[in-house]
Symmetry: C2
């Protein structure tokens, strides 16, 4: 039986998960593939640990730079994470004619284009299903499952930490800082949570999905990105009363040669499928001109789900090993010479509905001034809410708008925040209806 | 550019949808494939119609038997439906060396094994993504996306007509017969709805999923099958009060060399993801030992979603055309010689929780007799409910059981229905928790 010899860079949680599958499910995968996947090598800076796995027969390297050049390795799995040295190791492996599978969304979002070219030159495969939405085979669904469609939109919950925090804030009425602390203690959030909670991780993943959906190049730096750290327990409760839930969404849509890409907390209807996706689950909703709406839900992170996606990529490559790489679906869903560096739609031109929370003094004429400014900028209100209170207080006024452009909204907001009767920043959240 | 020449059998709604994609999205697909998909032929018994599509350049046959032998066709799409003559046409196409894509679940469920062998002999590909859950690429997810996993369970909503009827019954408090009539008038249900509402269509699809999940042969005839025609508006309301919703589920699980397969109305928790799947949407929940739970949701039927899945199969085959069929994932997810004719778990051994609606005379001792019989058969109650009423009436008593075997339950039920104080049949519904 043909053997595919696998080497793993990084024996952290996901690396050990991949090793575990390769060892424990070797028989199952041989039945599915007609080939044997064999773990032959692994690299980690700390080899003096109990890995909880029998790695006898596996060559262990304390320097990944040696593994990526090893003659007896056909396929390298990169699970180090981050930009460097991961980029160098992956590039070196490719230059040595090895296929590569990675779970590294930062690497693909930032250096993907360069690595795709290199892999094409060397006629090797590059897989990164695990980089987007963990265990969910959503890249395969997008690249192959709905490939007959013009993709009309991508809406996705792509960060398990944020979804866990938002779910817990809602269920317990707890504040952001308290839930983050608990998530850190449980190991669900990093000590420095910036990448997760500020939406950067979601933007990495969204930029990959958008490029694959619309045949464009990956432009991570151009994704509009807001995180969840400004959301309070009161906001979650207020939107719930209006029939919505707050999710950190990545959104990508095509616009006649431009691509809209944005990541921000978003009001979604309680009755929508995406609103039901709780805790650390991820969801990807792909809509196409023939398939209509499809939604893919699963664990977005974790040793075992992520390892499942890594090994699915290994199996796809093993299936065409050693001579059939050209028969794989193209890495980004379009033939390389058909991919275009499409422009990113300026945020000012993005259309959305909005939820506004304005802290206003309860004086005659204030609401009239605010609504008149909105009208000046062609912004229509779907609804407005003001709780009972004592006269003269500063009270939150909540407004829901119909669709308008971000440019219009920001122009109106700068005039509204300048009103002396309006205190603090206006909280601006975007709102989606989906029509599903 | 390499051309793949496609012929369609049956220009009904799905056939015209496939033709429309092949014509209108030819450019898009060429960008994704590096090959051209060309609609060259179509067969239909009634060619004297306005197809609403420009079919100039397409050879039209009024006898499908001619198309399947045509020299200028590389790939035949079978959209006639039913067992015969579809089976003969597909077999003839394969014998003439043509690849085949079909949306025909009845055909695959009943004659799949024979057709797989024939296709292997002739070295051609056979695709049927559209046969299960319409537009949702769930077979690809199962065969490739979660292929590193031992599949632990499949739970699926596979029939859009039933899901539409159950959703409407719940939303409107309407009775089954009225909603069915409306669905028929709207074209959502067939004039003879038996295949849909009695669960046979779901059983066709489930038998395919089960065989692919567990490496067994397709055994449609052995699927335990119950439909939705016995469900009343009162049942839907009663289970809703208990925190559940009724869905027609297909369920398949592995049991050490045996496979459990069953289709029946099922109580699912209102908070579960599958409970949110409404109207004609389908959902497939695949759980694996590494990936945990994944859920795939989308349109289960309709011209355009089904056509999307058909063309995804055509694209998979086109990608390896003309010489790379061996590089495709095996048709049923396992190498042919690794597939086993696993036994079906006898229904008496299936474990489930139950919802029982017993029409009992309100006399002293009746409930005690019923619960004592349940206890005799080791059946524990999770809860019991009896509405207020006048003494002496016949009243519905609702009982929820913990997990027990179907054998135990049926033994208890035959004793309970024999009680003179129990009138009518006991309504037995199964209940699932999922733990998601």
């Amino acid at each position: 039986m043909t053997e595919v010899r696998v080497g793993i860079l990084g024996l952290g949680t996901v690396g050990l998960g991949v090793a575990r599958i390769l060892i424990e499910q070797q028989g199952l995968m041989a039945k599915r593939l007609g080939k044997t996947l064999k773990l032959v090598a692994a690299a980690d800076r700390d080899l003096n640990r109990d890995f909880g796995l029998d790695l006898s027969g596996v060559t262990l390297y304390d320097d990944a730079a040696d593994l990526v050049k090893a003659d007896d390795v056909d396929l390298v799995v990169e699970l180090i994470g981050g930009y460097e040295p991961a980029r160098t190791f992956v590039a070196t492996a490719i230059e040595h004619g090895k296929h590569v599978v990675t779970a590294n969304k930062a690497l693909v979002a930032k250096h993907g284009e360069e690595l795709f070219k290199l892999a094409a030159e060397k006629n090797v495969a590059l897989g990164f299903e695990a980089a987007v939405a963990g265990g969910i085979p959503c890249l395969k669904a997008l690249r192959e499952g709905v490939a007959a469609n013009n993709i009309e939109s991508v809406y996705a919950i792509l960060n398990g930490t944020c979804n866990f925090i938002l779910t817990k804030m809602e269920n317990e009425g707890a504040d952001y800082a308290d839930v983050l602390k608990e998530a850190q203690e449980l190991g669900y959030a990093e000590a420095d949570p910036t990448f997760d909670v500020e939406g950067i991780d979601t933007a990495h993943k969204l930029s990959i999905l958008a490029a694959m959906a619309y045949g464009s190049e990956i432009k991570f730096d151009e994704v509009y990105t807001e995180g969840i750290s400004k959301i309070g327990a009161a906001d979650i409760e207020a939107v719930h009363e209006l029939g919505y839930r707050i999710k950190l969404l990545g959104i990508a849509k095509p616009h006649h040669g431009q691509v809209e890409m944005r990541v921000h907390p978003t009001l979604v209807p309680l009755s929508s499928q995406i609103a039901q996706v709780s805790d650390s689950y991820n969801a990807v909703m792909l809509s196409g001109d023939f398939v209509e709406h499809t939604v893919y839900i699963g664990r977005g992170a974790g040793e075992r789900p992520t390892a499942s996606a890594v090994v699915a990529d290994i199996m796809d490559i093993a299936r065409v090993f050693p001579d059939g790489v050209a028969y794989l679906a193209p890495v980004m869903g379009y033939m390389a010479d058909e991919r275009k560096p499409l422009e990113t739609l300026p945020m000012a031109d993005v259309q959305s509905e909005y939820y506004l929370r304005i802290m206003a003094q309860d004086k005659p004429g204030v609401i009239a001034r605010v609504t008149s400014i909105l009208a000046d900028h062609q912004i229509s209100l779907e609804g407005m809410q003001q709780k009972e209170h004592d006269t003269g207080e500063v009270v939150p006024v909540i407004m829901l708008t119909y669709e308008t452009t971000e440019g219009n909204l920001q122009a109106a907001m700068s005039r509204i925040t300048a009103l002396t009767a309006v205190e603090d920043e206006v909280l601006i959240l975007r709102k989606e209806s989906f029509n599903t």
